[in-house]
Symmetry: C2
Subunit: 353 residues, 2 copies
Amino acid sequence: MKIANIETPVLVVDRPAFEENLRIMDGLLSKSPMTLYPHYKSNKCLEIVRRQLAHGAGGITCAKVSEAEDLVAGGVRTVVLANQVVQPEKIARLMALAGKVDLTVCVDDAANVAALARAAAAADVRLKVLVEFEVGLNRCGVATADEVIALVQAVARCPHLAFDGIQAYAGQLSHETDAAVRRTAVLETERRVRELKAAVEAAGFPCRHIAGGSTGTVADKPADTPYTQLQAGSYVFMDSTYAELALPFRPSLYLLTRVLSVRPGRVILDGGVKSFTMDQHAPVLPDLPGVRFELNEEHTILFSPGREMRLNDLVRLIPGHCCTTVNGHDRLLVVEGDAVVDEWRITSRGRAQ
Amino acid sequence: MKIANIETPVLVVDRPAFEENLRIMDGLLSKSPMTLYPHYKSNKCLEIVRRQLAHGAGGITCAKVSEAEDLVAGGVRTVVLANQVVQPEKIARLMALAGKVDLTVCVDDAANVAALARAAAAADVRLKVLVEFEVGLNRCGVATADEVIALVQAVARCPHLAFDGIQAYAGQLSHETDAAVRRTAVLETERRVRELKAAVEAAGFPCRHIAGGSTGTVADKPADTPYTQLQAGSYVFMDSTYAELALPFRPSLYLLTRVLSVRPGRVILDGGVKSFTMDQHAPVLPDLPGVRFELNEEHTILFSPGREMRLNDLVRLIPGHCCTTVNGHDRLLVVEGDAVVDEWRITSRGRAQ
């Protein structure tokens, strides 16, 4: 099938750019102590996960139990749930997975450690645990080495839990556009994490893993980083928000739209904010640089687009945020030039529980 | 089932508030010449459509061919597609529907009228047409009576198309928060539409319908409005953006979240911008008025929430925009007090083509 015939609006992946992003990440990690555990939140697509594993990923990171279930059902053998799981109904689902694969979860609360330990004992499964350390994101995680060590000790007392290291995600740095500021902040985070690791190990608990990092910061990590698991996700697609950072990756994800109406001074496209998200930047129109536009639910209105446009002409938008945009679609059409070469189901579209 | 046991984040509808909104709309329209053709874009849910039809809706409005297909499959007999359909593949699907139900589509382009006429003749079906008049939204639609009449004449020349009136949606007024400004602008739109209708009818073409209007402007419509079809959709749910307008409707749609982590000075909830949208206002937390918060993909971070909160406590968010939020979910849990009383599938979730 040709692009000219596909119904719009539709999310497409440019295969050459996508595959180049996999290779660029391979290159960045080739001399690094980090292994990629790519974050499933950015693609939610088992077709992509299989390609990431083929490129040497050590496991897959995810945010929700429902995502972990889809990964396990899809054959993934090593899953890191980089989030807390506290609702009893979800802890029960987590234990069902822990019986099947190498599963890791994060903790930042002693009562939650106790609940996980009871459930793991009852299910007779072994669950790996990362203690979450707060490194400036101001989200989950404890803030001091003493608190981390207290949680590590709580985990170590539970025979069905295995302390595996530290989760330390400095998400506030991922979109820092000033490269010097970002680099300095990354190195400061590295220093804090190295210091924490030394304190935990001095208390008698080896940290097999330090997990975190992102597409925005991977190129800033020093060769002697204490991090072992890189949880980047967006690198496969990029988006208009990450485009501000001048990273080595290429845009590969587009919303393909068509001209629905041509009026004096404006052109209306057939896709809007029901087909991409607005939690980060607005989309960018790579084929019409600088054009002013307004966004409605099902329409994008281009003002004075600067070239003649006709009904049904195709126009590409680079979404503002790949992770949330992909989450709203059922499939990705894979394109190369003007041909549609594959179709990938977005396995965990909308899975938030 | 009790709310206490449902997995979060989850979108819920408060049944008493939802049903009251249906009755409030009945009251507003009881002495109006307008019949409600509620817009499917706001709920995408056949369970809700059936309740709207039971409350006297004259038909259902939608924006996309795929939505119209779901409505027809669900037994709806009168569908108004308040948008242009120009892609050949979609025109073919439109004709398949026109053979089954009373179907109306909008036009603003003579070439599109010709394409629809050819397809309707080839399929031997009858398609109703509204000519779209641009009344300040700056989207689709022609701007002058002469252009409208030229399109009406083009439609009238096609034996398989039936001119049915004018589409005139002043969407730019729907969220005007100054009630006096809104009211004045609504009356000015009414004047323009009345004048247009007179011109079209003087040219020999009766306008059976004038379609448009929204949740934000329904209460401002005068008793002698020329509008006959009211295309409001959000009134069943409301959202934090419409809440700024002091409308007669009540919030009925909530994202239910749980406390995932309690840290010094902040509390982290288990739902974020993957579970609601940010194309209009941020969500509002009705149970924690005034609390400052930050939004991540899968988390909402409350700062100094002002009361003691514990892991798994439930917190409600009123989404910023009901239409785009519903579009990302598979189901609505219907609640009354602390009980879950029903579950409605969001039939056309993600349908954008």
